[in-house]
Point group: C2
Chain length 151, copies 2
Amino acid sequence: MSLPSPSAPADGSLQQGLHQDGRRLTPQRKRVLELFEHRGSGCHLSAEEVHQQLASLQLKVSLATVYRTLRLLADMGFLQELELSEGGRRFELAHGDHRDHHHLVCIRCGRTEEFESEPVLMAGADAAQQFGFKLIESSLNVRALCPNCQD
Amino acid sequence: MSLPSPSAPADGSLQQGLHQDGRRLTPQRKRVLELFEHRGSGCHLSAEEVHQQLASLQLKVSLATVYRTLRLLADMGFLQELELSEGGRRFELAHGDHRDHHHLVCIRCGRTEEFESEPVLMAGADAAQQFGFKLIESSLNVRALCPNCQD
DNA sequence: CTCTCTGCAAAGTATTTGCAGACTA
DNA sequence: TAGTCTGCAAATACTTTGCAGAGAG
């Protein structure tokens, strides 16, 4: 079984993007991307978690392949790599509309909230321009204590 | 020998902070902190680099101790842990005056520039407040291509 | 059919830990 | 002296890679 994917929005572009480079659309790659799509955009998963969540859905994808696939999907722009505090990098679904967003992370319990901010994006763009860099992506990480961890 | 440390600004507070918790001021801990102080605040070092730089100054500190010390100093607030893109976390001297600053990183060659931005700090503070979080620190990471890597 | 992909297991990095002796307070 | 710290080496976590067979186009 595969996750119920009514119209499989990204499937088409995934296949297309892969074929452009002579790569192939495999069930494993579909499964990983679909997992993120069904979890929604606020979901930050590590390689290990992707592997386990797929396993719990009876979808076997080896951990090595998960790693390879996460990197591939991130390179292709379907996923975005996060650099939050804890060890282990995480990935989330990239927004098609290129709307960068930011993270508020509780350093104690790891709870993560997302938010957007126009001024932040502009500040990033300004800084890049000022140093002659070509902007790719900017993200603000706010380290904080959530209400439950403040005592 | 130790690095020429005219008035050893942090030495006192390092010793004090350590003693508060029953910990001790050792040459190794002093060496690590002094390295950062002499490199200045714009310097981002990994554990491995700290180890090598100390070694090149004839100051022997084992790599394991460097790791332990970096974590200790970061917990005590003397150093700040960075989460830039490349594998391997880095540390920099924490600003006593709590002036957060941000990083512009070339994803190809790793060149890193720093900048400050008032609007970014405000956006971070706003977001924290909005979710009821207590702000600790916010940093904007801008991923980009530097002039040399743009072709 | 051809050439890419996967799974496995082994190899790498990066970082942490156990322990006996060294050293600070 | 008492208890913390260090260095070493082994252990652990995370990620990548080599290779032979499976599978997409």
